[in-house]
Symmetry: D4
Subunit: 238 residues, 8 copies
Amino acid sequence: MTRETRRPGRTDELRVGSEFRYDAGRWARIGAPEVILGEGKSPAQLLRLLEALHRSGRGALVSRPTTAQRTRLVVARREGLPVLLLAGGRLARLTGPVADLSPVGPVALLTAGTSDIPIAEEARHVLKSVGVAVVTAYDVGVAGLHRLQRALRSMERKRPRVYLVFAGREGALPTVVAGLVRAPVVGVPVSIGYGRGGRGEAALNAMLQSCAPIAVVNIDAGVPAALFALQLLAGNRR
Amino acid sequence: MTRETRRPGRTDELRVGSEFRYDAGRWARIGAPEVILGEGKSPAQLLRLLEALHRSGRGALVSRPTTAQRTRLVVARREGLPVLLLAGGRLARLTGPVADLSPVGPVALLTAGTSDIPIAEEARHVLKSVGVAVVTAYDVGVAGLHRLQRALRSMERKRPRVYLVFAGREGALPTVVAGLVRAPVVGVPVSIGYGRGGRGEAALNAMLQSCAPIAVVNIDAGVPAALFALQLLAGNRR
Amino acid sequence: MTRETRRPGRTDELRVGSEFRYDAGRWARIGAPEVILGEGKSPAQLLRLLEALHRSGRGALVSRPTTAQRTRLVVARREGLPVLLLAGGRLARLTGPVADLSPVGPVALLTAGTSDIPIAEEARHVLKSVGVAVVTAYDVGVAGLHRLQRALRSMERKRPRVYLVFAGREGALPTVVAGLVRAPVVGVPVSIGYGRGGRGEAALNAMLQSCAPIAVVNIDAGVPAALFALQLLAGNRR
Amino acid sequence: MTRETRRPGRTDELRVGSEFRYDAGRWARIGAPEVILGEGKSPAQLLRLLEALHRSGRGALVSRPTTAQRTRLVVARREGLPVLLLAGGRLARLTGPVADLSPVGPVALLTAGTSDIPIAEEARHVLKSVGVAVVTAYDVGVAGLHRLQRALRSMERKRPRVYLVFAGREGALPTVVAGLVRAPVVGVPVSIGYGRGGRGEAALNAMLQSCAPIAVVNIDAGVPAALFALQLLAGNRR
Amino acid sequence: MTRETRRPGRTDELRVGSEFRYDAGRWARIGAPEVILGEGKSPAQLLRLLEALHRSGRGALVSRPTTAQRTRLVVARREGLPVLLLAGGRLARLTGPVADLSPVGPVALLTAGTSDIPIAEEARHVLKSVGVAVVTAYDVGVAGLHRLQRALRSMERKRPRVYLVFAGREGALPTVVAGLVRAPVVGVPVSIGYGRGGRGEAALNAMLQSCAPIAVVNIDAGVPAALFALQLLAGNRR
Amino acid sequence: MTRETRRPGRTDELRVGSEFRYDAGRWARIGAPEVILGEGKSPAQLLRLLEALHRSGRGALVSRPTTAQRTRLVVARREGLPVLLLAGGRLARLTGPVADLSPVGPVALLTAGTSDIPIAEEARHVLKSVGVAVVTAYDVGVAGLHRLQRALRSMERKRPRVYLVFAGREGALPTVVAGLVRAPVVGVPVSIGYGRGGRGEAALNAMLQSCAPIAVVNIDAGVPAALFALQLLAGNRR
Amino acid sequence: MTRETRRPGRTDELRVGSEFRYDAGRWARIGAPEVILGEGKSPAQLLRLLEALHRSGRGALVSRPTTAQRTRLVVARREGLPVLLLAGGRLARLTGPVADLSPVGPVALLTAGTSDIPIAEEARHVLKSVGVAVVTAYDVGVAGLHRLQRALRSMERKRPRVYLVFAGREGALPTVVAGLVRAPVVGVPVSIGYGRGGRGEAALNAMLQSCAPIAVVNIDAGVPAALFALQLLAGNRR
Amino acid sequence: MTRETRRPGRTDELRVGSEFRYDAGRWARIGAPEVILGEGKSPAQLLRLLEALHRSGRGALVSRPTTAQRTRLVVARREGLPVLLLAGGRLARLTGPVADLSPVGPVALLTAGTSDIPIAEEARHVLKSVGVAVVTAYDVGVAGLHRLQRALRSMERKRPRVYLVFAGREGALPTVVAGLVRAPVVGVPVSIGYGRGGRGEAALNAMLQSCAPIAVVNIDAGVPAALFALQLLAGNRR
């Protein structure tokens, strides 16, 4: 079941200074790209980890690097580490293979407003990092139905395997999309909006209550949504 | 400002047994129909109150009579009090003038699903009790956009002054409607759905977060929504 | 994009008495089975709807029929309507084609405890109604890891396309499963447990916070989880 | 129904750099002024959008510009773009026609305290931007009833079509006003107050629970309240 | 400080069967009447406790007896125990001295609606049981200001020492009263109302957020409100 | 009832620039000191208001001045306005009569920890500003019962009329105190503590649930607690 | 680490009809008694499971049997299965060894009120079922400190290894106890109390916020608290 | 019961300037180390308190010193006070005896991720300060089961008396650990994660809902967890 027994020769545990040992192959074993969470690591720890991965010939993505980490990565880049800040700094990418995948595509990304675009871009960069084709339609919310219908018609021609639909505020877009397309729809609530139900809470609950059969990830979870899409695509090949 | 000074001869306070005195003219003074909340009154108290109103030549609506009150009203009807149960028992009506209004119309009522119909019917009966024309389109949720668009096109021809839009679950319908019509839209969340955001919570928050300019009443507040619509229509006449 | 244009001859709107018109083809247009929500319909309305579907040569599933509806369906069955109660009465099935699908499989269903089984059975019956193969492992919670690992090893041999993982209480099972398998994992929180976080709330939030890339449906949403799985399988065929 | 078919010659989609296309006529089609949400746009994006609108001969309002956007707009103004910061910077206005309306009035604005004034001012500027007359009474909370009653008496003489009532803390003002006037009352909760129920939560819930028939918008939603009032006034003309 | 040392000869602990020993003098020591919570005691336990108190020459109040306890108390009364059900069964009283107080008065009780009366009656009976004078004005909510002002004018003549103000829904009454009277005002939220903020939640939060200096007790806490009023009156004598 | 009619000659409305008119006598009419909420006023507005009060011969307290307001008040003091920052800047006092009271005392103030002291100090300064005697015992939480009992014994000798008991965290102190003293106890939850129930939430709810008859004010509401105590003392004189 | 390898000969999986296989040794492997959750099992399933355990020579506890299960167990007892209902039916015990333990003791159980006793009794029966000595002090809440201090003095002489402290309402008892004893204190919130913070919510949060170092289990979790105590005692022997 | 009577000669109350008196022996009396909460004390107050403790020959821990306090302590150290910042500044230690304990060990500390390490380090330093042996396994979350099982096998050989298990996100680790070890498990939720259930809320609730018998402390409560462990160890010696 687990892939561990199938890759006996692979040493996945990387020593990061004296602090901790990183299980570099954890996600690879289930066919997911290497994604490191920025939160809770000092800039120095993160850098040592990326250097160790780079030395072992691997690439990686860093999700939500902190301000201090971003600053350190910019310096590291100047010092020669092939690391790039993406999606307005919400993601970093260490060049190199981040996963052992050959997923088909494409994945469709829609956002209800312009405020949802940064989270969608996180997903787009994760998908791009493993070579998946992406089609996007941004700012096509339900208050302008004709525009949305036009966008979906043009998207549907490319036969997306899965739709990732990003929406904050009232979070209605995934429900409306799921009533119009055949591929599975994953809703991604986005933390915009003030007042009651703001910060993505109303959107999350609306998606959980959807009268259409959609699945949901957490608020602002652009990276997990992309990873889920990858596993869904991987299933297609089997 | 208050109408009290303009109706000096009117005695509005009705004595109900020894328990309390009912301010029968409270709502009339602001041009709203007489609506009595069933909650918190014994069947005997409610009956005495309706009898007093009937004797004074007035009609009234009873919002959400309790089971015990409904049973008592059925008996009272047999005993000659002109009182009717409406909207599946969620409303009772004492025949007679319930308000001194000449409101224009019509009011449009839409529901997303069949489960929202009982609350919409509460509103319809309140509006009907004061002679306002109503146009309805039930079960036209956002997961079936073409059906909704057809229904709105036919409705719009009757030039509704206000839309009351009822929806539970993800509560997206008022937002979509407000993107397609010119008249003001009032969202009424309905307490259906299980799990997180159920019982109307997700719908309420989604409507408060709507990216379209709608106003909202509380969950299952079909009667208050109708009363608000009446005041809105009244404004048209001035 | 929508399939409406491709089925011009099909009349999908069924008249149900004078109350409302049912859009029978709504879900079929996106390739999902016909699922009718029991909530909010009178037993008579539901029966009229099922009879209309039966007359038009279609089958259907009824999700969460109420006690009154169940009683009526039992009578209807005696009167000749081919309708069956399943999953301990949480689902009813009207014999006949419920969807126009040829989905591959299998789908894996796991539950953490015995209390989660009824919700998993809802999903199993939906999948079975459209001919999808299902493999199950019930009562394999994370407090007994060795048993879970044994079950997964045996399941993995059948190469499931997607895992639906049902868990109440602390909701840890989908996360642990997603760390061990390659196919996408959908978490279904179940409304068991008392005290804080009970009724599925802790499980839902734990799944949304999962450190593994899983998607989630609402609490007790066995039927929507199955419908999402069907769309995911459908994608495989394209 | 939608106005799109009636304005065939109008090209509403504006290209904003390569990032996205803005649907400039979305709100115009339902008779609302052009309001752009500041949130989620970079200062450069916002500026490009305003310049495009200005070139096409339109005005607009910008709701809640961010600090960075405000700074950029001040510079833009010096460079010749006719853009003004209003309501203490919570709103910006690009000179030019923001809507194709001829609404009647006046609209009454009341606030319970001085802390509610900034949100009321947002509404006042939106209304003013389309030429609607406004009457105001600020700081007339329910703890000083005589003052409130005096203010309402003087207001009522101007026969407002709708009352927008702003209140934080316990949010009682809209309920009290609705018991004294005939026009519809819209409650706007304001995010003041510390401790439990603070930040407008108690006020919002109190307004939703009001024993008078009022409608509600979200916390601090001064702009949406004004837009709703505009649609209500528009109905008066039809 | 504690009164224990001043009443050395008093044996306060009553043995109730073998289950537990009741500290009968606990509240007496701080000058409060003997109030027994019904919740969590079997009818037999409650009866044994009342019999023990009666034998030792004391009276008592039972707060919120359960249905089973009420049934048992009715039987006990027929068997000779001087016990009475009050306030629609929400309170029971064992005749006999329930406290060693000589409090002055009067206490004013106001309710916003008729639904709040049962909770106010609980307080009235507690106050009456120790001989405190009470003045009441029921159903004088803020949507009918003139009626409220009339009621307060008449009450104020009796110079109440404290106002207990009961209100559900939006809970505005205590705030308005506190703006008009000089004695301290204690707000008692009442669990009426449906939808968001219902069951007293909006009222409680509104009272905590009041812009007037009021203190608050929990939802439906009529008995604790009366006990607090008693301690306040007791302070007057010192 | 209201004192307005008794003070016909007093002009209470102060003009503050062109912005708003301040109802200076609002609280005086119910016998409370003049307390101005800092929140929502610009430093300039606040200063103009204080100058107007000073010119009319009155004093006042400013509750929770903002940082900008505090800075402005320090400058104003140098320019000759007799205004003082107290309680670590959480309160400001304009010298002069702040209320027309002759309340008796003393009032007892207790805090559970050192973190609760700043809020208690707010209350102490309000009481001091109108000449009420105060006795304090700080840092006497329930985890050190003997120390608390010692403190209460010494306090009780001064016969406080009311206890204001400040506690964050688990909020147990008011309950324990109310079991040991005869005077009324008002609980003031304080916003300390991290994690679940932090920021005073657990303390507030614990006080509302107290098994002793206490009343409660909102989290951190030191000033309202003092105002409530003043009204309670005022009642003693009548 | 796990005990599985140490008990190779033991077959722990019991077949329960065709529905599921029960992992009878799961808890035994970590030294805990066999506790079966009643929730989610049909009476027939539960009975089959108990019969299988009985046949294999084991005893067991059933936590929270449902009404239907209780009825079935009473019948089963008459038919010869040695099964007993305890703690007012909240627990059932199948005679026979429920765990392979030799834990020392005693464990101290305290409750704040009489309403907390049923939950404490659940814990007492679990401890008793494995032969642990228990000392109890019921109804010793913090509003009667002297009584509590007396009870603790007498308890402390028996040198309890751990205190399980049960409290609803404001949940202050564990904090006060932890300030007076040396052994570890585990707080068990109990679901009593109405209004805000009722049903154990305030008590749970108060215990989590305790200023003394206590650990907590969920609301009404008498059985888990006893199991935790058993593991704590087991540690003493090692 | 309390140890006060056994240490008659010890003067525990330290005067800290004129502000307050610190009960230095409070925790010592129950066998816990001296831990001072940083929150709510000025840097000067904290320093005076540490100096007083140092003069009286005691050591202490300061939990969560504020930024200003940390700065002051660094200066104090240069001026000769033996005080050290630990755990990334989340803890400070004044050299000297912090408790009169001889606890056995070891205590096992596990974290699910690297983000949980800072809270675990708080616990480790508290335990170290009183000489308790600690074994750690960091970053062994449930998404990598084989690594966790390896870590536990190696830990179990050292026979820990208690496991403190730190986890944020979905908080599953304590449940999985408790299914594999015999010693008691205490769950410590950690405030990481964004979106719904973030900041430790999902983890706390999941631990309270655990299907294994674990006890829980509040979110980020590393110090209280260590203090609870100390009392548990102390019990072992008795």
